[in-house]
């Protein structure tokens, strides 16, 4: 399929506002005006955040006992959800950085949304290791800072690696996101009035679209892509080592890093689709986000789903092949033990359902994709649930085996995390263009000048 830019190549000039481009008007449209569904969604998200905050205050005050922890399961939904959101945060950087380096031009229409998703997903994820702490107020103990008591952190602990991996990833993602935004902020600045104009002016950092500025900009993007690319692989590898570096049966496996990265990309793309489909519809961006984009993302999903399937199979195979009874029991009980529902949901949603994407018609069927991706997100959450709870509840000392039941507090914080994420994303939609205008234009110009052929 030809890049969609050809379809819009003739529309650079808008008849109504000849000095403005059609892309500017279409893509900036969501940032002004009143869309009722938008405000309803934002209101719901803010309410959701508020309820979760209230619940968290309660939890901090009375103690973590209001969550569902039961010995021997010391990590629960909070860590499950942490890994889930970190995984979601992968698609953005993958699309922005890796596909940029591979010159996959189709990414231009989706990269802004995906980058925003990354930033907000990482912000969401980073909250969870904090709010699962027994003593939140001692969070700073995890940071190596010089102090007169000469207290230091344990660099052997994967949790400390997490602190660095996540903070690094979050900062690079935010910088990357912001640099990419600058030309578009300038467009917003030029179209805004009053206070808004003043804010955009500051944020645009004096962007004039001059040649040297463009040169510096594209260099920055290139270099940041180079920096971000290894991070895509490293951050989830480090997160996976929270488990792989331990001695818990079902966690202690060398496959974890690639397995988690593949799963993260898989889940991240599913989330991008889940978000862009409604955005496209509500803000009428069908011209820019076409079936072509969704089909490409579907292919990624199909590919990473297969890797996940392989990883699942490899885990079970190695557990059996190792001859280690602890591993065998843990895996057997994942599938046929108290958490069998989670395990079979995980396999069905993450491996079996995505195989339908071999069918081309389904790859471009947006309602189908939307529903499929919802299932994938659910499946990916279950994957982490199975890994964490399934292993902890059935480890070495059988006499200490237990069970874990999610508590209402955890459920409301889980729901709150989606609201928190949505709130940021919705605010972003109202403030910045969800599609990179300059990059779309670049494609359009490219298409006009070269007849759309690469």
């Amino acid at each position: 399929m030809a890049p969609p830019a050809t379809a819009v190549a003739d529309s650079l000039a808008s008849p109504e506002r000849p000095r403005d481009s059609r892309a500017n008007i279409d893509i900036m449209a969501p940032t002004h005006g009143v869309q009722w569904p938008y405000f309803l969604a934002l209101g719901a998200a803010v309410l959701g955040v508020l309820q979760a905050l209230t619940v968290l205050l309660y939890q901090t005050y009375v103690g973590l006992g209001v969550a569902g922890y039961q010995q021997p399961v010391f990590w629960g939904v909070y860590i499950v959800t942490f890994v889930f959101w970190i995984g979601i945060g992968h698609a953005g950087t993958l699309i922005s950085a890796i596909l940029f380096l591979f010159r996959a031009k189709w990414r231009n229409a989706v990269n802004r949304g995906a980058e925003a998703l990354t930033v907000f997903a990482v912000i969401t994820a980073a909250l969870f290791p904090i709010l699962h702490l027994g003593r939140i107020w001692k969070l700073y103990f995890l940071i190596p800072y010089p102090n007169q008591r000469a207290l230091w952190v344990n660099f052997k602990s994967p949790l400390l690696w997490d602190v660095f991996a996540i903070s690094t990833y979050a900062s690079i993602s935010i910088v990357f996101f912001y640099i990419g935004l600058i030309p578009d902020i300038a467009i917003a600045r030029d179209r805004a009035t009053g206070v808004k104009k003043a804010i955009y002016t500051v944020l645009a950092l004096g962007w004039q679209g001059t040649g040297p500025q463009w040169k510096a900009h594209s260099r920055s993007i290139l270099h940041l892509s180079g920096l971000a690319t290894p991070l895509v692989l490293s951050v989830h590898s480090v997160v996976s080592w929270d488990f792989a570096m331990s001695i818990v049966p079902g966690w202690h496996a060398t496959i974890f890093a690639p397995y988690f990265v593949a799963g993260a990309v898989f889940g991240g793309f599913a989330m991008v689709i889940n978000i862009l489909i409604p955005v496209r519809r509500i803000f009428r961006l069908e011209r820019y986000l076409t079936e072509y984009h969704f089909e490409n993302m579907s292919r990624f999903i199909l590919f990473t789903s297969t890797i996940c399937g392989y990883a699942y199979a490899a885990e079970y195979f190695i557990a059996w092949y190792s001859g280690v009874e602890y591993e065998q029991t843990t895996f057997w009980l994942r599938a046929f033990g108290p958490y069998w529902i989670s395990t079979w949901c995980m396999i069905t949603f993450n491996v079996i359902f995505p195989q339908l994407l071999w069918i081309k018609k389904l790859r471009t069927n947006l309602p189908f994709l939307f529903v499929l991706c919802l299932f994938i997100n659910l499946g990916m959450w279950f994957e982490r649930y199975v890994i964490i709870i399934g292993s902890l509840s059935r480890d070495y000392i059988s006499g200490s085996w237990g069970i874990y039941v999610i508590s209402p507090v955890e459920l409301s914080v889980l729901a709150g995390s989606f609201c928190w994420f949505s709130m940021w994303f919705l605010l972003f939609l109202k403030v910045f263009p969800v599609i990179a205008i300059t990059e779309v234009k670049e494609l359009e110009i490219h298409a006009r000048d070269h007849g759309g052929a690469h």
Partner: protein
């Protein structure tokens, strides 16, 4: 302070900080410390006093550790001949009685509104004195067994007030006393010493759990079976009973006889013994024949549901053993022919030569012996007839512990004035008109004379914390008011005067006077009048035989007020906090119920509801319910103190925090108020029917499976393997597992420059699972009790737990959301206990993953835990392969020591904050406590100077602690048994500092191979 001179001031300081603070009002009493005699209290230095445990009639000697004027820990008195420095879980936690928030703070008088209202001693005593003056001949005193001095005062008071006195104990062992009297003519309770026997036939005595002297007997039993010194494995035990009880798990053979067949078995065995040995000289042979005439081996086997061969094999074994002994049934199996049963057993024992050796019959003391149920019936009849004006109740809770069928509670309504001397709230005190709270044992003077040659003193170790008064003092005052001839002075003086024949200060310091007294051997007098065996039918028509057995910790219900005893799992079932109905899996299946399903148990006497606990170790025709729960009064005994945190996770258990709602059910309600041939109380023999209610109430089960899945957590070896060991090292107990990937010496896991690497050896063959170590650890280390709601969620905070596995295990199970132990089989015995404290690994998985280094390896090889540095990521607990780490989900440190309980905290151990991790520290405070004196003297810490709390408590000496770097240390010696030693999960190379010694299976027919 002007009227106080320097000399007096120093004296006051010398008796304790509390005394110094309140040096007025009452005359100062002097306490004499035992181990050290400081000129004054040095803050930070413990002062020890000797005393006596009053929790059960065994009367073990105590060492009370006090800090800054308050007792913080009880330990056994090493000089005391009964417990020899050891103390059971009940004794350990009885310290809490002084600090429980549900103590009566002052005298209470029932007001016009019908509720108990605070009063003053002057008012309350005046009120009672007036009542007593007009109630001569119509006053009764009802109370538990007390020491000789207090007993004397009560008797004096009874004379002064013209009162009748009944000594009431729920477990009065009437049949044991009467049966002994029938055979030997001496009405006393025989003293059992398992170390003098080589074969014990246990007819359901449960002597290691709730017998007459469990701590002493546990030590003797373990010593008699020391496989290190006796390659034959020592004493053997064959245990009868429909249910695998605590003692049976330590036996070598379990014969699952029907409930109620004890009499038949006892008579059959006695008959076999008499047939083989003949009747001794001077005994009326015809009388013996007549007595045994109802017995019949084949018929006994039928009654017991056994093959006749099984029973005659036991008789054979009895006759072939050198020093056999038969133990009569315990409380749970005290049936309607209990006295005859005991008489038959004692007759056989006498003929077998056990009497005077493993069973010693002491002279009768007469006074202070508990009355029988028949005597109580007299009292109740008098009450019902309105012939009782004043009823004084002390040291007992008859409203709870008497069968409702007796009508005691209703009869109370007809008594003019009911006076309770309870220090803690209980059902009886709450239905009294006047409560005159007694001191707790830690605040009281008293004494005890449990057996000839042993006299010990109960010494107060703290000023009374509340406005209470010693029972003795109250009675002395009342008696004098009535013009009676009462002893001089205060009750303290009475005790001291009673000890005037010895050096009082020396007796105080060592806890009593202990001398070897040769007990005169008794001859068989054989007065069997009114006794004999006849096949009887059980009462009631239910399909199940009901076994109401004394709870290992709660006993007759007195332990229920102590939250530790509620929370520490019952050693046999691993259940906490509530009542349960044990039934076989087959019965549960037939009734279509499972773990936690509530059933109604009904007998002609009453009905109760409780949750089902299905298990393999009980006959299909039997159900069992523990005695001790079902209190409706008391902060912890009832549901009143139950927190609501997190109850929704498994659905609310109901009635949290509500006063007046019973915790569990009182099984005594199901028992008829019947008596045996000699008037003793009958606990066994009821038949019950069980119906499903359709409701579910989850039980707090601390261990969900007894299947160790072949993981060799609790290893076992046989005598044959032990004997074969030595030539082929690899084929010892570990024949079925490969060489570990790394062999290591735990001693190397510390800084090479350090003289110490602390380590421990736990001998699983000596461990009988009694959980005294767990109780000791709770008290020593300020471990909070979390309550039933939290216990249901596996959030107990125990730093040491006793895991209990059955057999080697297989790969079955683990899939259910509500697993229950399922490997017990009828008649099979391979129960393995394994105490599980922190293993203090040399290569600890927990240490590497802590991001803040809150848990770290110290120079002496310990896994340190810096509570202040813990942020609560809980990664360490996930990574701990032994699952010994515990997390403070709530602010247990503040919330779970309400009221006075905060005073019980050990000042040497940090109270942990909400959100931090904690675990066993090898009692690091005790190591540090020993380090300073050693440093002062310029030496190293000596072997044996540091004892961990668990080690100190263990009645069987199963735990040895010490320095692994010191080749001469006891711990190195104890671990030097390559044929039995192993490290837990050693293939993971965590290099634990604890060496376990495998349990030894002594006979081929033991275990489920």
């Amino acid at each position: 302070m002007s009227e106080l001179d320097r000399r007096d001031f120093l004296k006051l300081v010398g008796v304790g900080a509390g005394a110094a603070a309140t040096a007025c009002a009452e005359p100062v009493e002097k306490l004499v410390p035992y181990v050290e005699q400081p000129e004054s209290i040095t803050p930070g230095i413990a002062v020890w006093y000797a005393s006596t445990c009053t929790e059960c009639p065994a009367a073990c000697g105590l060492h009370v550790r006090t800090r800054e004027g308050r007792p913080v820990k009880l330990e056994g008195n090493p000089d005391h001949p009964i417990n020899q420095g050891k103390l059971c879980g009940r004794g350990q936690t009885s310290l809490g009685r002084t600090y429980l928030p549900d103590r009566y703070p002052q005298p209470m008088v029932r007001g016009a509104g019908g509720s108990l209202e605070p009063s003053t001693w002057d008012d309350a005593m005046a009120q009672l004195a007036a009542k007593l003056a007009s109630a001569r001949g119509r006053t009764w005193i009802l109370g538990g067994t007390v020491g000789p001095s207090l007993g004397g005062v009560i008797d004096q008071f009874a004379v002064a007030a013209g009162a009748n006195r009944i000594v009431y104990e729920p477990f009065a062992h009437e049949a044991l006393r009467k049966g002994t009297e029938a055979v030997f003519g001496v009405a006393s309770l025989p003293i059992f010493d398992p170390s003098q026997a080589d074969l014990i036939i246990d007819l359901g005595s449960d002597f290691l759990s709730t017998g007459l002297s469990p701590t002493e007997n546990a030590r003797q039993y373990a010593d008699a079976r020391n496989v290190n010194t006796d390659k034959t494995g020592g004493t053997r035990m064959i245990s009868f009973g429909p249910r695998l009880n605590f003692t049976t798990t330590s036996a070598d053979q379990w014969i699952p006889a029907k409930a109620g067949s004890e009499a038949a078995i006892a008579f059959a065995l006695a008959k076999a013994v008499v047939a083989a040995k003949g009747t001794p000289e001077g005994v009326d042979a015809a009388g013996v024949q007549r007595f045994l005439s109802g017995a019949n081996m084949a018929q006994a086997a039928t009654a017991a549901g056994l093959e006749p061969g099984e029973l005659s094999a036991v008789a054979e074994a009895l006759l072939h053993a050198k020093n056999p002994v038969i133990l009569p049934p315990g409380v749970a199996y005290t049936g309607s022919q209990a006295t005859s049963t005991v008489a038959a057993v004692m007759l056989a024992n006498a003929l077998l030569g056990a009497v005077g050796k493993s069973l010693v019959v002491p002279p009768a003391t007469g006074t202070n012996d508990a009355a029988s149920l028949a005597d109580l019936k007299v009292l109740v009849a008098a009450m019902k007839a309105g012939r009782v004006d004043v009823l004084l109740i002390h040291d007992s809770n008859p409203v709870y512990s008497l069968p409702p069928e007796l009508g005691f509670t209703e009869a109370l309504g007809k008594v003019g004035t009911v006076v309770s001397f309870a220090s803690l709230q209980d059902e009886t005190a709450e239905s009294a008109g006047l409560v005159l709270p007694d001191h707790t044992p830690m605040e009281s003077w008293g004494d005890s004379a449990p057996r000839p040659g042993i006299r010990s003193i109960v010494q107060p170790t703290v000023r009374p914390l509340l406005d209470t008064r010693a029972l003795g003092d109250s009675l002395l005052e009342l008696g004098r008011g009535l013009g009676g001839a009462m002893a001089e002075g205060s009750f303290h003086n009475v005790v001291e005067n009673n000890w005037s024949d010895v050096n009082w200060r020396q007796a105080l310091a060592q806890g009593g006077i202990f001398s070897e007294v040769v007990i005169e051997p008794v001859g068989i007098s054989g007065d069997f009048a009114g006794l004999g065996y006849s096949a009887s039918s059980a009462s009631g028509k239910g399909e199940f035989a009901l076994v109401a057995f004394p709870h290992h910790f709660l006993s007759d219900g007195r332990g229920a007020a102590l939250p530790w005893l509620q929370e520490i799992p019952d050693p046999v079932t691993k259940l906490q906090w509530n009542s349960w109905v044990e039934m076989s899996f087959e019965s549960a299946k037939r009734l279509d119920v499972g773990f936690g399903d509530v059933v109604e148990v009904e007998t002609p006497s009453g009905k109760i509801e409780a949750s089902v606990f299905p298990r393999g170790g009980i006959r299909d025709d039997t159900i069992a319910v523990p005695i001790g729960q079902g209190h409706s009064v008391g902060l912890y005994a009832s549901m009143e103190g139950e927190g609501e945190h997190g109850g929704w996770i498994h659905g609310p258990i109901g009635a949290e925090g509500q006063p007046g709602v019973a915790r569990g059910a009182n099984v005594i309600a199901l028992l008829p108020a019947t008596q045996d041939e000699m008037g003793g109380r009958v606990w066994g023999g009821a038949q019950a029917s069980v119906t499903k209610t359709g409701r579910f109430r989850r039980l707090a089960l601390s261990q969900w499976t007894d299947n160790q899945r072949g993981r060799e957590l609790a290893q076992s070896t046989s005598l044959a393997e032990l004997a074969g060991h030595g030539s082929d090292h690899g084929s010892g107990h570990g024949a079925h597992h490969d060489e570990p990937p790394h062999t290591f010496t735990a001693a190397y896991d510390a800084d090479p420059d350090q003289p110490y690497r602390w380590g421990m050896v736990i001998d699983n063959d000596r461990c009988n699972g009694c959980s005294a170590c767990v109780a000791a650890c709770y008290v020593e280390n300020n471990i909070p009790v979390v309550g039933e709601t939290q216990a249901i969620q596996h959030r107990d905070m125990a730093w040491i737990r006793i895991e209990r596995y059955v057999g080697d295990g297989d790969l079955e199970g683990g899939a259910a959301r509500r697993p229950v132990p399922n490997r017990e089989k009828l008649g099979e015995l391979d129960v393995r206990y394994i105490p599980m404290p922190c293993q203090q690994c040399g290569a600890a998985p927990c240490e590497a993953v802590c991001p803040t280094l809150a848990t770290y390896h110290n120079k002496e090889g310990l896994n340190g835990m810096v509570y202040n540095r813990c942020a609560g990521t809980r990664y360490c607990a996930n990574n701990c392969v032994y699952k010994v780490r515990r997390f403070n989900y709530f602010d247990y440190g503040n919330e779970n020591f309400p009221g006075l309980l905060g005073l019980m905290l050990n000042p040497d151990v940090t109270v942990r904050q909400q959100g931090v991790m904690e675990k066993c520290s090898f009692c690091v405070q005790r190591i540090e406590g020993a380090r300073q004196p050693a440093k002062d003297e310029g030496r190293e810490i000596r072997d044996g100077e540091v004892k961990t709390a668990c080690q100190q408590a263990c009645p069987t000496h199963a735990i040895t602690f010490g320095n692994l770097r010191d080749d001469a240390s006891k711990v190195v010696e104890a671990g030097n048994h390559p044929e039995r030693s192993y490290h837990l999960l050693q293939e993971l190379n965590t290099r634990p500092a604890i060496t376990y010694l495998a349990q030894v299976t002594r006979d081929e027919n033991e275990g489920n191979h």
